[in-house]
Symmetry: C2
Subunit: 154 residues, 2 copies
């Protein structure tokens, strides 16, 4: 897997816009969302499923930018969100831990969204240690998630 | 007046976040707005006033970022927009021509907002030549403005 920000095959072919880290940080400060969902899930031992996700939603006219973000981070998917909106979305715990967290640790967000990123990071590091599967850990995650800013519908 | 992107006195004092051009481009791709207003104005020879403006609106929790943009561009004002929103706004024709246009010419936007920027630029260059004061020029500006994307209320 190439490093985050390294030109991918798609980028080399010139089909996808090439992005630089400064631009990505600025764009995510405006348009990105770090969210931790907690859903009831009968199959899980704890009865709950913790679902962290990183998303960027855009009008479909800027679909190319979402594909450029996907190529930049080397992970995630671009899907219809609602109406004429598309979302770039990363849900894989491994990709969030190995690609999304290190990028925003190296290139910190400048808006208050940085505080949400730090909470998101804390939840992912707890999940990495399996703490979301225990009652106390789950409660702590629920508390952290409740203090994150809601992402505005676009 | 310092160059766009040069550290200002405020920046040197460490009170304002220092921004880099890549971040500014990414953030404006997400949050910026290039708008050309055309208002009825009895005092003007043509009967109309053409009002181009560049704005970035944010929740008041990110007021510091708007002040950082003001310091970065070395022009504009930060004002209440509506409710808990603030706007960084540049309306001065001189500042738009000398500071905003050259920056986005050198650091092009990556989203479809770039097309709006090009229309905005065309209107400003027409105004610089006084074409907005003539019937034909005004009609052309009205046509360009009508084809620009509306900025979404935030």
């Amino acid at each position: 897997m190439p490093m985050v920000g390294e030109p991918s095959e798609t980028l080399r072919s010139g089909l996808v816009v090439k992005l630089d880290p400064g631009w990505v940080t600025g764009f995510v400060d405006g348009e990105g969302c770090f969210h931790v969902g907690i859903n009831v899930h009968a199959d899980m031992t704890s009865g709950y499923q913790v679902l962290p996700e990183f998303t960027v939603v855009q009008h479909e006219r800027d679909a190319q930018l979402l594909h450029a973000l996907k190529a930049f981070f080397g992970c995630g998917v671009v899907r219809t969100n609602h109406g004429d909106r598309l979302a770039y979305r990363v849900r894989s715990q491994q990709h969030l831990l190995e690609r999304i967290l290190p990028f925003f640790e190296k290139h910190p967000l400048r808006s208050k969204k940085h505080i949400d990123f730090l909470k998101f990071r804390e939840v992912l590091l707890m999940m990495q240690k399996g703490e979301h599967l225990k009652g106390g850990g789950l409660e702590r995650i629920r508390e952290i998630a409740s203090k994150m800013n809601r992402c505005q519908p676009r």
